[in-house]
């Protein structure tokens, strides 16, 4: 299983520098934390990896199949994406949201029937299945978005700020869900909370002004750059201040 980005360039406006500019990024199995300040390009990169935003230049390949090429559909179903805001109608029922997402994403009926209740259970929303989306709290909405991302049982899971709005117990549960993913799966989670990344990810990629300044094991990152207190925050700040050097 591989997710490879090469010569990637995403721009919103020709007058401004590209939002994302990456020469080569090879994401193998395991959990990779994508960190950066607000506006670093994390969400744009995740959207691009999810197949929701065609880059102006470059390629995104899942197991050597181009995500924006003619065989796009062969790999799109293998990707689960949890955006920062999932725009579901407020009056939609939680179970309907999941059923609809599985239909739109082309999950076979039998598989959806078996998987959807399990997913609701996994994200702790079984008792809320008949509630309307508008009645859910912020944290519940995030968990529903996570369940929606998981409807295809993806090999690549892309989570944009997954811990926002989650209480400590839910963060622990999220870690459990991520650790339950198969060993061959690729998970990328973006966050600007270094603690979350340090807890959940084995690798870390620091994104700053659209460029990857550093990618490597979290432990090594903290040890090498975290100062005497081995602080993840310090390591992060040192990285972006030094331009990745």
């Amino acid at each position: 299983m591989s997710l490879v980005v090469d010569d990637l360039r995403c721009s919103y406006d020709r007058r401004n520098p590209p939002a994302v500019e990456i020469d080569l990024l090879d994401l193998g199995p395991g959990v990779c934390g994508l960190v950066g300040v607000n506006g670093a390009g994390k969400s744009t990169l995740l959207r691009t990896l999810a197949g929701s935003r065609r880059p102006e230049n470059g390629r995104v390949r899942v197991d050597d199949v181009s995500l924006y090429g003619p065989d796009r559909r062969r790999v799109l179903g293998r990707i689960g994406y949890m955006p920062q805001h999932l725009d579901l109608p407020a009056e939609m029922r939680v179970s309907d949201a999941l059923a609809y997402a599985s239909w739109v994403r082309g999950v076979p009926p039998g598989a959806a029937r078996a998987r959807n209740p399990q997913l609701l259970d996994r994200v702790g929303l079984s008792r809320r299945a008949t509630d309307r989306v508008g009645q859910l709290s912020g944290g519940m909405n995030r968990r529903l978005a996570l369940a929606v991302a998981l409807v295809t049982d993806p090999d690549v899971l892309l989570l944009d700020e997954p811990t926002t709005g989650l209480d400590p117990a839910q963060r622990v549960a999220l870690r459990g869900i991520i650790s339950d993913l198969t060993a061959t799966a690729i998970t990328v989670l973006s966050s600007h909370v270094m603690e979350d990344v340090a807890m959940m990810a084995s690798r870390i990629a620091v994104l700053h002004e659209g460029r990857v300044l550093h990618i490597g094991a979290v432990d090594e990152f903290v040890t090498a750059r975290g100062g005497p207190e081995r602080s993840p925050e310090f390591a992060f700040l040192a990285t972006i201040a030094g331009g990745g050097a």
Binding site: P89, A90, E91, G134
Partner: protein, 423 residues
């Protein structure tokens, strides 16, 4: 961009909304332009009546804005401010301001077109726009309440259809004319707007505004006793306005006892309402052209033909101006209008009685045909029952014409005798 406009979208979105309001306003007045162009008051009334389409658009725009507001955190921030209800109302005020500006533009456009067509202005009647503006506020607030209470933008089309349907129900007289702010099909010449029937829908509309705000969120108008009193007043205004609203459109206007006239010509003189002077020149010319043939036949014409809606108080020696259809508004009239005027040489009670004066009607019809044949306007067709008489002996025709004209002039309808073989 000001805060109150922010919820309507960017500059272009606001411009488009204004454009949509203006466009439906134009759509609602344009099809009848030939009707209202000849009367300033009718143009004013028609412009004010554009709420029938602009109101639903304002309601839809407000619904979309408030659904957006509800789904943002700003709604809670607004609720925490001291003047929460006023802060909350700002986007609705913005929609209302847009709609009001568009309505005023439509009204000014209509009345300017009428003025340009040569009809005098009656600025004293312009107050009828105020109830229309209050009604727009009510319609916008209904949309705002639905949008905020539900948070569902997709309800906007249903709100639009609902508000439009209320107009339909009022128009069908299934409910009082609470959403009626104008759009009369007559010229309103010789009439004035009646104050209370025109104002009552505004009272009901003010009540709707208050109740809509209260229904949108309990915190807005249920928080204190003083606010609850306002809700009570709003409910009272709605009930009073609803019960006192006119049952039909006609109640919005009343006849003037002696409407001023403008006159032209001498043989005979022709007078129309001063408010609708456009047809006067053409009508006078055509009446004079046709009158020559009556005079040649020895008929004693009235000195004046005067336009009027009522018989009471009329000078029996004056003839009656009778214009066909919407010719009161037009600069040119048909030959038939000139003929109809000439064959009505006196205002007669019988014309307004329970039973139509059939004999007099037949006589006027034949007299008119005779006049048009003589004037070269018409030729009797082969199958016409009066063809033989119309092409017959001239002396006998003129004798009948003189006699019947005298009878019509003295309202002695019972003495009328149709020529042999006719009627």
């Amino acid at each position: 961009m000001s805060v109150r406009l922010a919820w309507l979208g960017g500059r272009w979105a606001i411009l488009l909304q204004f454009g949509a309001l203006l466009a439906v306003g134009v759509v609602s007045v344009a099809p009848r332009v030939s009707s209202w162009v000849g009367s300033w008051k009718q143009a004013l009334d028609f412009g004010a009546g554009a709420t029938s389409l602009m109101g639903p658009v304002a309601a839809g725009a407000a619904c979309l804005a408030y659904a957006r507001l509800r789904r943002s955190v700003m709604s809670e921030v607004m609720m925490q401010s001291r003047w929460d209800w006023w802060r909350w109302l700002q986007p609705a005020v913005a929609v209302w301001a847009l709609a009001s500006t568009a309505l005023i533009a439509v009204v000014v456009g209509c009345t300017s077109i009428a003025s340009a067509a040569g009809v005098p202005s009656y600025w004293g009647s312009a107050w009828i726009v105020l109830p229309a503006l209050v009604l727009l506020a009510a319609q916008a607030s209904v949309g705002a309440a639905v949008g905020f209470a539900s948070g569902r933008a997709w309800l906007a089309p249903i709100v639009v259809a609902g508000v439009f349907s209320v107009n339909l129900l009022a128009s069908a007289q299934l409910i009082p004319q609470v959403f009626n702010t104008g759009g009369v099909t007559g010229t309103l010449a010789g009439q004035v707007f009646t104050v209370w029937p025109v104002l009552m829908p505004a009272v009901a509309a003010a009540g709707i505004v208050v109740l809509a705000v209260a229904a949108a969120d309990r915190r807005l108008l249920w928080a204190t006793w003083s606010r609850r009193c306002v809700v009570g007043l709003g409910l009272g205004a709605l009930v009073v306005g609803w019960l006192s609203a006119p049952g039909s459109n006609d109640e919005r206007y009343e006849l003037l006892a002696d409407p001023p006239q403008t006159c032209a010509g001498t043989q005979p003189q022709v007078c129309v309402f001063e408010e609708t002077p456009r047809p006067l020149a053409d009508l006078t010319a055509k009446v004079e052209e046709q009158a020559v043939f009556l005079v040649r036949a020895g008929v004693q014409l009235p000195d004046r033909f005067v336009q009027s809606y009522a018989v009471a108080g009329r000078d029996p020696s004056e003839g009656v101006v009778r214009l066909i259809g919407h010719e009161e508004s037009r600069a040119s009239v048909s030959e038939d209008s000139a003929t109809n005027t000439l064959v009505t040489p006196a205002p007669c009670e019988q014309d307004f009685g329970a039973e139509p004066p059939y004999l007099a009607m037949d006589a006027r019809h034949l007299l008119g045909r005779w006049l048009q044949v003589r004037a070269g306007i018409r030729k009797p067709a082969g199958g016409d029952s009066d063809r033989a008489w119309l092409l017959g002996e001239q002396d006998r025709q003129e004798a009948w014409v003189r006699e019947v004209y005298r009878q019509l002039q003295t309202c002695a309808f019972e003495e009328i005798q149709m020529p042999d073989g006719v009627g």
